[in-house]
Amino acid sequence: MEAIDLAEARDRELVQGIRRRDEEAFRGLFGRYAPSAKSLAMRVVRQSHLAEEIVQEAFMALWRNPAAYDDQRGSVKSWLMGMVHHRAVDLVRREESYRRRAEKTAHQVMDLESDHADEVVEQIGLPDERRRVRAALDELPGPQREVLERMYFDGMSQSQISEATGLPLGTVKSRTLLGMRRLRAALIQEEP
């Protein structure tokens, strides 16, 4: 908890700096989270140049309106990733064909990355957070995890998942809720 609190305190300090138009603070937050943000955007939109645009848009929005972050509502890192995810999902919903065209290539990229994932995770930034989130996902029952991953990482809507899997819409929603309850408990209600 101590390490996480310190990291979050640092992030909030950087946001405060951005509110004062401190460009170094902006560079600091960008350097800390842009690599994860790009990875998330890439996973959803599956095209590198679009992922980069999304990350730039999100950080541009942060620079232009840092007051949009409300520290009463959650962490800086989660808010930033939420902005990126929202933009990425919005993009794929409007332009499904982007993903279809690039899907094969992207899968190859993801496969290559996963080959190195375990060794790299120990060496790069935010390893504790990554381990915790991965562990929380691994703890989920398979059907719940599948629905969550399709929804979050593949950018699929509940209806699209229902159609793709043949599951009733109600089942998709209930599995989402159960999975998210478990994740919430693991990630934010039982933080070490």
């Binding site: 645009e53 950080f59 541009m60 993009l91 790069i124 990554r130 996902l137 209806s159 990630l187």
Partner: protein, 244 residues
């Protein structure tokens, strides 16, 4: 009507992951509205949003050029270079508004407005030197092309061989607080941004100071207000082929 937090919680969980769609979007809005100032609703929404945001960290980081931070700062400090200002003369705007007030939406009227407007704007621009001292004259060699698509009505007037084009449009919906319409010059497979614009009362009157020499067609997309350098969505309007 949602009567307790169970269903709201389910919908909030789906929403936090970006999965909410269909009737459930409105259902959640109605449910939250029916709860009024609901602390439990806010707590659930915040906690699920926080949880969802953390999921992104499960992925391996990807390398990002640190210079991008400076590029963002540069773009943010020069918004004028990313967004187009409305054309200087008020006459075309007034004319278009007058036309709208008369509910004259037919294409011939719009094209005529563009043709008249381009004379006024290009003349004004020439006078003020924005296009140099070549002294572009109002003449009959203007070309007006129309756009087709699923948005408002749009026409572009320009003089082949001369830089710049005037766009006159009507019946455009507000793209949203964080969205803009972006104008593109299409050169084969390449799209070059001509800048971004927001409609005012549904109207667009904007002069794009760009070289159209290599453009085959023009297009319009809806983009984030950062005015990206590459299109992130499919065109909503595409012009007829341009005359070289």
């Amino acid at each position: 009507m949602i009567r307790d937090h169970a269903e709201i919680e389910e919908l909030l969980a789906v929403r936090s992951l970006g999965g909410l769609d269909g009737d459930d979007v409105e259902r959640l809005e109605r449910g939250l509205a029916s709860h009024g100032d609901c602390e439990e609703c806010r707590r659930l929404a915040d906690e699920y949003d926080e949880t969802a945001g953390r999921l992104g960290f499960a992925l391996e980081e990807m390398p990002v050029d640190p210079g991008q931070a400076d590029e963002i700062l540069r773009r943010a400090s020069h918004p004028a270079s990313q967004e187009l200002a409305p054309a200087a003369p008020l006459a075309p705007v007034d004319e278009l508004r007058a036309r709208r007030s008369r509910r004259a939406r037919a294409w011939p009227a719009l094209v005529a407005a563009a043709a008249v407007a381009v004379v006024l704007v290009i003349s004004a621009v020439a006078i003020f030197g924005s296009l140099g001292s070549t002294g572009i004259q109002a003449s009959t060699d203007q070309t007006v092309v129309s756009f087709s698509g699923d948005a408002g009505e749009l026409a572009m007037a320009y003089q082949p061989g001369k830089p710049g084009a005037l766009f006159v449009g009507s019946d455009f919906t507000d793209p949203g607080s964080d969205k803009v319409y972006e104008i593109w010059m299409l050169q084969g497979e390449t799209a070059v941004s001509g800048g971004c614009v927001r409609p005012h009362d549904g109207s667009i009157v904007v002069f794009v100071d760009a070289d159209l020499a290599d453009a085959d067609r023009m297009a319009v997309t809806v983009e984030p207000d950062s005015c990206p350098s590459q299109p992130t969505s499919a065109p909503i309007l595409i012009s007829d082929p341009l005359v070289a």
